[in-house]
Structures are given as C-alpha cells and as structure tokens.
C-alpha cells in the first residue's frame, strides 16, 4: 500500500514533469528521484499511461452501461425482432459482438447479423470511420468477399452489420484438423489474395486477416469476412501521432491477446498501415497452413511482440516437402521492412499462381481444397450445414445466383453487366457485324420462367477462356485461352482429377468456334489469323499438326448428324451473309440461304438438328427495330421458319438437346442485359431462363445433360493518370460490369456511364473519388457523355423515348433534359468549343454510317460526312476527326472541316474498336488508344510530324474510355478486366 507521503511526492513529480517538454523529462526525473528509483519507476509508468492519450474514461460510465441498465439481454432469443430483422438463431460470438442468423424483411432472405457490442461504439469518430469504411466495403463485389448488405443502427441504438450468411467453417476450424498440402494452401491463399486485391483496388485495407475471418465453404469457395471492421479498434490518426511508438506497444491495452501474432511490425508500431500489412498477414496464414504454427509464437505476448518488431528476419521452419519456391514466397511476404515485402497482393498472387501451375503440372492435375467437414446440425429449422461432401468446386446455380443477387443488392449503383456493350467491347469479331446499333429494351413478348437451380461448376481457372466445346461422350473439353493478345487451344479431361494438354500453342489468332467430330477423334476449329477471314482446320490430337479444310468459314461449324457434312456462315464484306453447307473435307459447298441490305445471319453460332432436317441460325433485322430471331432453315427444300415468338437483341451460340425437345441458346433480351443461357422448349416455343445473374454466358456446347459455356465476370476501375510522370496513376473507383463513356467537365468533374439498376446511367464524380452524383435515372439507357466547354451541359445518348437520340442535360444535377435529335440510332455526341452545336453519328437507317451536327439549342440536323462515325470536334472549332465505318478494314481517322465538305486528310492510327480519338488543346495533336500485348495505353499523334508518343504507363487491362482534364495534364481512364472461365452446367 502506497503511503500518503509517498503519493504526495509522486504527485508533485508527476505534475512537474507534466509541465516540462517530453525531451527534458528524463533529466528532470534523474534529478528529483535520484535517491529513490522506485518513485521514478512509478512516475514513469504514470507518464507512459498518460501519454497514450486514448479515450480511457473519457466517456461517462452510463454510455457503455446504458445497454446494461436498459435491460438489454446479453443474447437475443430466436423469434426476437430487431427492427426489420428476425433472429433465427445465434451463430456465436465474433470479435466485436454477437452474430445471429436472421431473416431480413427488406431483402427477404437469411443474413448474418452482427450486433456490435456497445463498448465498441462509444467513440463517435471511430464509429463514423467504421461506418464509412463499411459502406465502402459494401461496394466490394467479389466472390471471395463476404457481402455487406447494410450497416446501420437498430432502434435501441445498436450498431449492426447485415452481411451475407456463409455456410461453412472458419479456416481456424480447418487448421485444427491439421496442416494443408502446398497446393491446398495455395488455393486458399489465392482466393484470400483475390479478395484482398479487390479491396485494395478501392483503397480498403483489411487490417485484421486471421483464420477466424476466413470462411471455407463446402463447395471450395473461400470468403473473407469483416472488411472494414478493424476501423472500430484502430487508433485514430491523431492518436498515432501523439503516441510514443516504443512504449505504446507494451502499455497499450487496446490489443487483444491472441491477435498479436497476425499483426505486422508497422501495425504494432501503430504507424500508418497500408495493403502491405495484409500481405504480411497473408504470409503468416500461408506459413500457418503449411506448418500448423505461426512464425512469431512465443511464451508471452510481449515476447511475440518483441520478435515481430525485431529487425532480424522471421525464423521460418518448414516441413521437408514444402517446395523451395513456396518458402521464398512466404519469406518475402514476411519481410520486416514493408518496402522489402511484396508491394501489392497481385504481385504475391502472381507468384503463387505460377507456382501453383508448376505444382499442378508435376502432380498431374489440380486438387481443389475441400474442407473435410462432417455433417453437423445447425439449430435452425433442422437444416444441415453440409448435406454432402464434394470433391471439386461445384457451385450450384442456386447458391451462385443467391450470391450474385446479393452482390447486386449490395452494390445497386454499379451492379449488373451490360450485354451488348460487353459484347461489343470484348468480342473482337463483333464490330463488323453489329455496328453498334442498339435497340431499346422491350418487354419479353412471351411468358418465360426460370429453371430452378441447375448445378454449375467452374471448369477452368485461368480467367482467360474465350471459347469451349465438349466432346460427344462428355469426357473432354476443348477450349481456347487468350493471353497478351495471343490465343492457344487446350484439351482438358472432365473426370477428376482433370488433366490438360495444349494442342495448339499460343499464336496471334482468334478461335471463332471449336467442334468435336461425332466420334470425338477430331477437333474442328475455325480461327482468324492476322484479321484474315475465318479458316477451318481439322486436328487429330494429340501431337498432330492441324489440317486446313477450308477458307472463308466465318463462323463456328455445326456437323450433320452423320458427321459427313457441316454448316457454316460466310460473310462477304459489303455484300452478303450466306448460310452454307459443305462436305466434311470442304468440298461440294452449297448455299442454303443469304441475307443482305443490312439483314444479317449470325457468325457466332448455328446448330444442325439431331434429325438432320434443319439448320438453325439466328438472323438480325432492322425493321421495325433492330432484333434477332432464330430461323430454322430446311436443308432439303431451303424453306425457312421462325422458331418461337420471342425476339432477342443478340443470340450468340446455340445447341440442340438430343431429344429435340429443346434448344439451348446464349442470348440477351436487350442491349443492356447480359448474355444468359435460355432453353427454348419445342415445339411450343416457350422460353425458360437458365442463368439470371449479371455474368455473361457466351457459348453453348452440349453433351447429354451437360452444357459447356464460357462465363465472364467484368470488373472495371477508374484511374487518373498524369502523363510524363512514370507510374503516376491514381485509382479512384471501381465496380462490376461495363461502363461506357467518360467526359471531364471544365468544372472539374468526371462524368461516366455505368450500370445502375439494370440500365446504363450517367453519374459524375470528383477526380479525388468523392461526391458521386447520379445524373440520370429511370430513363432508358444513357451513355457516351460529352461535356460542353462552358461546363454547363452534358450531351449524351439516351433511349428514354424508345429510340436512340442525342440529349442534353445540366451538368451539375442532370436537370432539364432536352432532346436534340429525333432520328433513331444517334450516338457519340461531341460539343463544339463555342458550345453552339453538337456533332454525332447516325447508325440506324442502314449499314452506312454518317456524321451529323445539330445546334445545341435544338434545330435541324445537317449531315457532315458519309461512311464515318464517332466525330470529335477540335478545340479551335475548325475540324472534326472521325473514325471510318467499322465495316472497313482501314485504320484511318479522317479529318473533316467542321463546316462540312471533303476530308482534308487521313491519319493512320490503330483501329481500336469503339474508341474515338481525342483532340489536344492545340488542335494539332490527337490521342488514341493502342493495344499491345493484351493491354492498352494512350498515345498521342502529332498532326504536323506524324510522330507517335506513348503517354500512359499501364501494363495491364484494357482502356475502354478515357477523357482529358480541361488543362490536358491528366487523363481519366476507365480500365477493365474480364475474368472468363469455362463453366459446366448440368441439366436437372
């Protein structure tokens, strides 16, 4: 017990020390406590405790005790209603509060409800930061991230997070069952890495990755939970600045025992934390999965802290069988100095991926990580968490869709994928066929239903698949992958474990279609080589060289039932599309049907019926609006018949079911809906939707009850780049699905078009990523925004009146929309620098493009040029730069006088689909997008010297749109990635 005198002495010294600057305190204490080291110790301890400057006792007791006083139960019983949530059962205690399985009335489904314990929510600033972060995290749309549906407060003031309910076990549970094999650990780490990368891309660092926050689902999916939650426990920036780093760690009561071993050195020092902290923790996880222990385990917490903070590298001890390369990766992730570590998760996962490929190669196939879980009952509704063990990553369509819908709800502004836009942007051959003419969405003209729950299985994992076909016996899948602008052809077995052979190496070719021969011995493939017309080959694999069968095959082929003939479509530029038949060796070709004058036959797929009588091929027509139908062409008498009453916007591939009771097609209903799989029931023509998520399903190949397709997920990011400064690009936002068109107003705002509630809508955002305002809503699709030089107006294309017209609205809030054109098919507006008129192109009436201009105030449009599109007016108002009609092969941009007349000159810049050029302020330079090695950058073209110069420094992704800042010093780029994998869907 401390005596009164001693207390008074300590108090006096403490108070005097308080009056001195920290640097002088040590000398002062030496001086006054010279005779009694224990007093000095006491005072120092008090000074240290005082220096932490936290919220200790700063809020009155009743704030945290209010819940207790109000008689709130420690746990909510089943059936209890908390606002719109009805508690179903408790799922256990999480780090910051109890988690319940609950039914959400708004969402109409089960969710996991985390009620944050009151004591974590007493500091308003922290709560604010947490809410901000959680809202940001709720925009994360990634299959490996647990979706946050909602963040808010209950009626009694409890903070809650409503999130995706994940049926599974934690990585901690799985670790308790033993260590992981290298490949298994890689699979987990790669999925966690993918989740982190998506979060880092929007500036969210998880900060609290640990086995408890990683869920393993029985289907092999890994989900990372609690993004954003670390904000509740973290020191505020000002506290970090004031804290003394060396003493803070050991006295700060903030850190929980047990989590220290996952903390990075910089986190323990309470310094600024960035994505490299997550990289550190991922390293710890890898180590723990491989060895069963964490690298900094010690007898006490303080010893752990000390060894993490020590400058010496971690002492890592791996079991013998761990490959050297994997050890190196872990070591690099666990560099004490974060500058020595992997700098981005993507770099780490790139190494993991290449190692994984090596390991798979050496073990002859991949093994999916499947948690070994025994069925265990959950206390609600008699449901069992795991009804069966699965040997591969199988997604049931049900769970997948639930998940995707969940994503959609959570990210209402950006969810969805746009059908034809994605299609136009990603299918290279599309341009010559569709010409970018869109039709307004039409209501489905026939009753359709959704097929419930067809099991779905992701079959390839490269993310780069372009097309696929399954062998008639269902044992093999031939598929093409694209990397760096080159494609290769692979064959993979469908049995487990699968194996893969590359049957054609990487080359500058594009595979249009792949078809197995009826007996499975040959693979027929059509491909273009250096933008040639399509060439059909036959390949007896493995090991043999392909044999060229026929040139002028511009579509996939479909074999007759006997396999002795094949059907295909030939496109002759400027003249016609022909549906052809030929013998299997290419001889004896005959024309079954033709289309011209704008009507077209699809070059994406056709299907010879199992009874041999008809070939079904989609056709497109312009009248009354652009649409497609399925046509059955009779092989013998060449008669034609429309199948089903439903019109489509676009049909890609199709296949017959063996019994001829159904046709499976990949198609979309409107320009802004994704390609889904559908079944057309025959003979009545009714339609069932098989897939209904925002992913694109491109391709149909059928064997028995299996449908092979390519499933594509699109993600995009908005970057601001500063040409001239290497690597100077800032990420400002990201989302899912394609968005289309970008402008930078003279008022300093970036205007873009993206999917919002299943339609393309125009929004604006500040270049620092703040202040997002949606400018259009409930008015059809709205895209290709252009800004007027005075910053007052946005001019854009809108389908709100049922046709595609040019409109203008106020740039700040989207008010006062005014329609400027009344002909259909008007796109790509550009505003003159005197704000007097708008140039645009007209694509609707026929296949000939034309460029027009119309006064900004409204009035009669005047034609400027034929055969051109995408006009862009020069800043001096004298010139209009246009792209050639896409049907032509020309790389040329033509420059016209703005007043009209013949082209003044042509400029050869690479043809890049759906990319218009931009002017620089001097009206003497153009910028354009150039695609090299599978990724794109912005280049400039000097009109006087013809010199080209690379301006941006990206080394991944495609640039879909870009816009220069008003001073031309910065450029906003919309860059995207698509993840495409072969997926097998089984019919129920």
């Amino acid at each position: 017990m401390i005596t009164h005198d001693r207390w008074q002495r300590i108090k006096a010294i403490f108070n005097s020390a308080q009056d001195r600057p920290p640097a002088e305190r040590s000398d002062f204490l030496n001086e006054v406590c010279g005779d009694d080291p224990s007093v000095r110790e006491e005072v120092e301890a008090l000074l240290t405790a005082d220096a932490a400057n936290d919220d200790f006792l700063n809020s009155p007791a009743y704030e945290f005790a209010a819940g207790m006083l109000a008689g709130e139960p420690a746990e909510f019983p089943a059936g209890e209603k908390i606002g719109r949530f009805e508690i179903l059962c408790s799922l256990g205690a999480g780090g910051m509060g109890q988690i319940y399985l609950a039914h959400d009335e708004n969402l109409g489904r089960k969710i996991a409800l985390k009620l944050i314990a009151r004591e974590f929510a007493t500091d308003a600033r922290r709560v604010h930061r947490f809410e901000q972060e959680a809202r940001a995290a709720s925009a994360l749309n990634h299959p490996n991230v647990c979706v946050i549906h909602d963040v808010g407060r209950t009626e009694t003031g409890r903070h809650f997070i409503a999130m995706e309910y994940i049926q599974g076990i934690t990585l901690r549970d799985q670790l308790a069952r033993g260590t992981f094999k290298p490949l298994e650990a890689l699979q987990v780490a790669l999925q966690v890495g993918a989740a982190l990368a998506s979060a880092h891309a929007i500036g969210i660092v998880h900060r609290d990755i640990k086995p408890e926050n990683i869920m393993l689902r029985p289907d092999g999916y890994i989900k990372v939970v609690d993004f954003g939650l670390a904000k509740l426990t973290e020191a505020l920036p000002e506290q970090r600045m004031l804290a003394d780093a060396s003493t803070q760690v050991l006295t700060e009561p903030r850190t929980l025992m047990g989590t220290v071993k996952y903390m990075s050195p910089e986190q323990l020092r309470e310094g600024p934390v960035d994505e490299r902290t997550d990289i550190w923790t991922l390293g710890i996880l890898l180590y723990e999965m491989l060895t069963g222990a964490t690298p900094f385990e010690a007898r006490s917490r303080n010893d752990s802290v000390a060894s993490i903070l020590a400058p010496e590298p971690a002492q890592l001890a791996f079991p013998e069988e761990i490959p050297l390369k994997l050890r190196e990766i872990v070591k690099k992730a666990l560099e004490k100095d974060c500058d020595e570590r992997y700098q981005t998760v993507l770099k780490l996962t790139a190494d993991l991926t290449s190692l994984k490929k090596e390991l798979e190669h050496s073990t002859g196939g991949y093994s999916a990580i499947v948690p070994v879980i025994h069925p265990s009952p959950v206390p609600y509704g008699g449901e069992r968490i795991f009804t069966r063990l699965k040997t591969q990553a199988i997604l049931t369509a049900d769970s997948l869709f639930a998940e995707i819908r969940a994503h959609k709800t959570a990210t209402a502004i950006f969810a969805g994928a746009s059908g034809v836009l994605a299609f136009l942007l990603f299918l290279p051959a599309a341009a010559r066929w569709v010409n970018g003419v869109f039709d307004p969405a039409k209501p489905p003209d026939q009753v359709k239903s959704t097929v419930p729950s067809w099991p779905m299985r992701q079959f390839t994992h490269s993310g780069t698949s372009v097309s696929a076909a399954i062998s008639p016996d269902g044992k093999l899948v031939a598929h093409a992958e694209e990397q760096n602008g080159k494609q290769r052809l692979l064959v993979t077995g469908t049995a487990t474990p699968g194996w893969t052979v590359a049957v054609r190496p990487e080359d500058k070719v594009k595979y249009l279609g792949i078809t197995f021969s009826r007996d499975g011995t040959y693979i027929y493939f059509t491909r273009t080589e250096n933008n040639s017309a399509g060439i059909l080959y036959r390949l007896a694999w493995p090991g043999n060289a392909p044999v060229q069968i026929k040139k002028g095959v511009d579509s996939p082929i479909s074999l007759s039932p006997a396999g002795d003939r094949f059907a295909f479509v030939r496109f002759t530029r400027g003249t016609e599309y022909a549906l052809m038949l030929a013998n299997i060796d290419g001889s004896n070709e005959e024309v079954l049907a033709t289309r011209k004058d704008g009507d077209k036959l699809s070059v994406y797929g056709l299907a010879w019926s199992p009874d041999g009588k008809t070939v079904v091929c989609p056709e497109s027509r312009w009248k009354p609006d652009y649409h497609q139908n399925l046509i059955a062409f009779d092989v013998n008498n060449k008669s034609e018949e429309v199948i089903g009453g439903k019109s489509w916007f676009q049909i890609l591939q199709l296949g017959w079911q063996d019994d001829m009771k159904g046709l499976i097609i990949s198609a979309n209903e409107s320009s802004s809906s994704p390609f889904s799989l559908w079944r057309i029931n025959l003979p009545d023509g009714t339609v069932q939707q098989i897939t209904s998520d925002p992913a694109e399903y491109q391709g149909v190949s059928i064997s028995g009850d299996k449908i092979v397709t390519v499933r594509t997920n699109l993600t995009w990011d908005l970057w601001i780049a500063t040409p001239g400064e290497s690597q100077a690009a800032t990420h400002i936002m990201s989302g899912n699905g394609v968005y289309y068109g970008l402008a930078w107003t003279s008022r300093g705002r970036i205007v873009y078009s993206s999917m919002a509630r299943d339609k393309l809508n125009i929004s604006r955002i500040n270049p620092d990523g703040t202040d997002i305002v949606q400018l259009t809503s409930d008015a059809g699709d709205n895209y290709t925004p252009a800004a007027s030089a005075d910053g007052r107006y946005i001019v854009f294309t809108s389908s709100r009146n049922g046709s595609y017209n040019i409109w203008r609205m106020n740039a700040d809030d989207g008010s006062d929309p005014v329609r400027l054109t009344d002909t259909n098919g008007n796109f790509y507006p550009s505003v003159s620098s005197d704000n007097e008129w708008v140039a645009y192109d007209n694509q609707a009436t026929d296949t000939k493009m034309s460029v027009w201009k119309v006064p900004m105030r409204g009035g009669k449009p005047v034609k400027i040029a034929d055969k051109y599109r995408m006009p862009v007016i020069s800043p001096d108002n004298q010139l209009v730069a246009c792209r050639y009609d896409e049907d032509s092969d020309a790389d040329d941009v033509a420059i016209f006088p703005a007043r009209g007349g013949r082209a003044l000159r042509y400029v050869k810049v690479p043809k890049q689909e759906f990319q218009w050029v931009r002017w620089f302020g001097d009206s003497r330079h153009l910028s354009f997008v150039k695609n090299d090695n599978g990724y794109s950058n912005i280049w400039s073209y000097d009109l006087d010297t013809g010199a080209e110069k690379q301006l941006t420094n990206f080394n991944s992704d495609q640039i879909y749109s870009y816009a220069w800042s008003p001073d031309y010093k910065q450029v906003a780029c919309q860059r995207g990635t698509k993840i495409s994998d072969v997926t097998i869907i089984s019919e129920r």
């Binding site: 009155p60 209010a66 004591e119």
Partner: protein
C-alpha cells in the same frame, strides 16, 4: 404531481446527502426504475440524433427530481455529488449481479480493450475500476471524487470545479493523474486466465 413514493425518494435523497448511509439502501430500488427509463430514453435518443450525445443522465435525473419532486437542494452541485455516487453504486451493484450470473461468481480475469477502456466485459471492467477507485480514494480522496463526478456523474470539468470547490486547472491536473493511475492499476491487475 408527486406521488407518495416519489415523496419518499426526495426524503431519502436528502437524508442520504446529509450522511445517512442507510437511506441509500432504501433509495436504490426506488431510483432504479427511473434510471432504467432514462437509460432506455438515452438509447433511443442516441439513435434518433445519430450521434453520441454526452448528455449527462444525472442532469436529467436532477431536472426530473427538482421539477417533479419539488426538491429543495441547496444547489445543483450537491445533487450532482449525490447522483454520481448513486450512479456508481447502481452500476457497480448491477455489474456485480450481472457478472456473478455469468461467471457463477468466479472472477478470474479483467480484460481491458480499446475504446473508453471497456471491453467485451463491461461488468468485469467496471468492478475492477471500482476496486481501483477505492484504492485511489484511500491515498487521494479528491482525485477519487473527481473520477466519480466525471466518469460516473458525467460532469464537465467546469461543473466539477464548482462541486469540489477547486480551480478549473486543478481539476484538470488531478483528473489527468487519476486517469493515469487507474489505467496503470487496471493494466497491472490483469492476470493470466
């Protein structure tokens, strides 16, 4: 209109504030209901205003008693002192009961975590603080009282200066040291489980 029981409360409060300890025990169950109601209101308001308002519960208690129960306090300060003590008693008693149910009375560990010093077990932390505050009171009565007024009473430094009758700067100084001391004590009492 004052009811019979609230007349009782007034008298009990006055008796207790005059040093009659027995009055407190009679007072507790009577005040508890009011406090409970206030806590519920407090939580609702917190939600409505979407911000944590440091409105002192005791202030409301004071208003309530002075207006409804025609109390004749010499000043607000006197009441605050009593109310803070009362709050401490109520919270500690409540925590003790709560904690005992949860742990079967077996107290083994105090976990101090982040925010405002109180962690997943506010009851255990509160009891530890109560003990440490008793310890402080034995060597420095003024500091202990300041803590009681500040933390349990929710008073501002200025109000405390009024109640205790010392300068604003002195209250700051004492409060600073008391906080450091308690924090150190609480960290020190942490025992392995």
């Amino acid at each position: 209109m004052a009811t019979r029981s609230s007349d009782g409360i007034t008298q009990l409060l006055e008796r207790w504030s005059n040093g009659e300890e027995k009055a407190r025990d009679e007072l507790m169950p009577l005040v508890y209901n009011d406090l409970h109601q206030l806590a519920v209101t407090y939580l609702r308001r917190e939600r409505r205003e979407h911000t944590l308002q440091p409105t002192a519960l005791v202030n409301e208690l004071f208003l309530k008693f002075s207006e409804q129960h025609r109390m004749s306090w010499q000043n607000r300060a006197q009441f605050f002192g009593v109310a803070a003590q009362l709050m401490r008693r109520i919270l500690v008693d409540y925590a003790r009961a709560h904690y005992a149910t949860k742990r079967g009375g077996d107290r083994f560990c105090v976990s101090l975590r982040n925010i405002a010093a109180f962690g997943a077990e506010p009851d255990a932390d509160l009891l530890a603080l109560h003990d440490a505050l008793n310890g402080l009171g034995e060597v420095d009565e003024v500091q202990a009282r300041i803590v009681e007024l500040k933390f349990f009473g929710g008073l501002t430094i200025k109000e405390i200066a009024e109640v205790v009758g010392i300068s604003h700067a002195s209250v700051e100084r004492e409060w600073k040291m008391a906080k450091a001391y308690l924090k150190r004590e609480l960290t020190r009492t942490k025992k392995p489980s």
